[in-house]
């Protein structure tokens, strides 16, 4: 490891997608309901209430442990982590401390230096989520907090990595790969707001380690790490010492800020949870059948559909995307795969991101139709993009999107392959209107032909094929003679 090298470790908390909470029967589907409507004596922390462990949460966590190649402990147990905070209604969190569910394991990511890199894991354990705090008031009227316990008791899986990452980019890749793996295992729904939280540990080799808490988005991780690394490197350059501390990430401002020093002195006074019994679930491992995971699916996309490594990586990077691709090409895999892969990976994703839309906005059948139109040459690439944008914008306006064929007809986007008259006319017009371009072309100036092609495209509303036009224009000019 070189001096000044960046060292990053991550602690990732993901909500497990069970129907009921970790220790009680309250429904986990709380996001569209009002505060404190998914609460019972157990998750509210009423005196006398007792936890009972949700078996599915452990099954899900075991799936993750197996998929990430961890060693499941012979006996694991739950412990109390004691601290006072309004959103922690028992004043302790039931978590796992010295006897977690599983240890070791690894996740392979695309390394900065190219090729696959193995990020080792320290451990995996299960714990409950606390409630949610909203800060209210102001300096004049007095500040106070409002608490909603709907989230209290939601099952979390915590995955701790070794400090094996060397850049914000690698951290982002780790997180993406982890998220995808959990989605493929059907234990996690990444669309749910707040379902994933990250704490990062960053140091520059030779200096102290800083913990950055409260990162709640994928983009946030790269931002937070980039800021923090810059901050630390600047300090070192100025000859200052980097303090070992905990900092919070303020997403809106893109900065990390030192947390109150009181937090660092937390003595959690861990001891085994006396109301729960230990787990001996090592024997479950053999019975767990893993579904096809991202890496295997990537290999299959390359073998079965002929996708390039990059396309395969992109397409299998999210479960929904991979499923979408396979649905789109299903009617004719051999015929549609090549084009579909390009159009989904290189165009669709970008258009969706730009509009902050999810894949649910696109009907696979419609997309298949679009790909077929493109393959048949009925429309040009440019028209294809236009059709796609029309569909997405219609969705944004909450209208039922038209089918691609309908849009092509309505906007008259069909390539005028047979209608040479219109194109010939447009070509003649373009040449007549731009005598200077004609001169430049004859003088051998590069770009003159492209300029004319552009003029014709404008006139034919992009229906003509640029490559074809090049040929046709050159021909038309040649025909004019000297």
């Amino acid at each position: 490891m070189a001096e000044g090298e960046v060292i990053v470790g991550l602690e990732v908390h993901c909500q497990l997608d069970t129907k009921s909470k970790l220790f009680c029967g309250c429904s986990t589907d709380y996001r569209s309901d009002g505060p404190n409507t998914h609460v019972c004596p157990i998750c509210l922390g009423l005196p006398g209430a007792m936890p009972v462990l949700n078996k599915r949460a452990i099954e899900y966590a075991m799936r993750v442990a197996k998929a990430l190649n961890c060693a499941v402990l012979h006996e694991s147990e739950f412990s109390r982590k004691n601290y006072f905070y309004p959103d922690l209604d028992k004043a302790y969190q039931i978590t796992q401390y010295d006897k977690p569910l599983a240890e070791g394991g690894y996740l392979e990511i695309e390394g900065d230096e190219g090729g696959e890199k193995r990020v080792r894991l320290t451990r995996i354990h299960v714990e409950e989520d606390p409630g949610r705090l909203v800060h209210m008031g102001n300096a004049e009227r007095g500040r106070y907090s409002l608490v909603d316990y709907n989230r209290a008791g939601i099952p979390l899986i915590e995955i701790v990595s070794e400090p094996d990452m060397r850049s914000p980019r690698e951290a982002r890749k780790f997180l993406n790969k982890l998220r995808a793996t959990l989605e493929y295992l059907s234990v996690f729904d990444s669309d749910k707001e707040g379902s994933l939280r990250v704490d990062a540990n960053i140091s520059i080799k030779g200096s102290e380690r800083v913990e950055v808490k409260n990162i709640t988005s994928y983009k946030g991780v790269e931002k937070a790490l980039t800021f923090e690394i810059t901050r630390q490197k600047n300090m070192l350059r100025r000859g200052q010492r980097v303090e070992r501390e905990t900092r919070h990430f303020l997403e809106a401002r893109g900065i990390t800020q030192s947390a109150r020093s009181k937090e660092q002195e937390h003595d959690y006074r861990y001891f085994p949870e006396p109301d729960l019994r230990p787990l001996r679930v090592g024997s479950w491992v053999d019975g767990i059948v893993l579904p096809e995971l991202p890496d295997a699916r990537r290999e299959r996309f390359m073998a079965q559909y002929g996708c390039s490594l990059n396309h395969a990586r992109t397409l299998t990077g999210e479960l929904k995307l991979a499923n979408f691709f396979e649905k789109v090409v299903a009617p004719d895999p051999k015929g549609l795969s090549a084009l579909a892969a390009t159009w989904i990976a290189d165009t669709l994703i970008g258009e969706l991101n730009y509009r902050d839309m999810g894949l649910d906005a696109v009907d696979p059948g419609s997309f298949t139709m679009l790909v077929r139109l493109l393959k048949a040459g009925t429309i040009t690439d440019k028209s294809g993009v236009e059709v796609l944008r029309v569909i997405l914008d219609q969705r944004l306006r909450h209208e039922t999107p038209e089918k691609p064929a309908e849009i092509v007809a309505r906007l008259n986007l069909a390539r005028t392959g047979g209608d040479t008259g219109a194109i010939t006319a447009a070509i003649e017009e373009a040449i007549n209107e731009n005598p200077k371009a004609l001169e430049d072309y004859r003088a051998g100036k590069a770009g003159a032909l492209n300029f004319l092609v552009g003029q014709v495209m404008k006139k034919t509303r992009g229906r003509a094929d640029p490559a074809e036009l090049n040929r046709q224009l050159a021909e038309a000019i040649r025909k004019r003679g000297a």
Binding site: G25, P35, P41, R277, L279
Partner: protein, 89 residues
């Protein structure tokens, strides 16, 4: 043994207030009791063995939650369905 300062620190860690008037007596009694606890120093034996029940779990089924009025009934203050609490810095 523990000093009054230690006892003050423990009281803060535990978030139980003790007044300055109580501090002296508390510390004295604390030390007496801790001395008694020290008999454990000479305990010999293995760590507590396996407990008698394992893998006590329930199926992932939902059950009705409390009606919100019940949740809020014992709370000192509430606002729009949330429970009010003193501010955290």
């Amino acid at each position: 043994m523990v000093t009054e300062k230690d006892v003050q620190h423990i009281a803060e860690l535990a978030d139980v207030g003790i007044s300055s008037g109580e501090l002296g007596t508390f510390t004295h009694q604390f030390n007496e009791i801790l001395e008694y606890f020290d008999t454990l120093d000479t305990v010999k034996g293995d760590a507590a063995p396996a407990r008698d029940l394992y893998n006590v779990m329930r199926e992932d089924e939902t059950e009705p939650s409390l009606p919100r009025e019940e949740v809020l009934r014992n709370a000192a203050a509430q606002e729009d369905g949330f429970i009010r609490a003193p501010r955290v810095m």
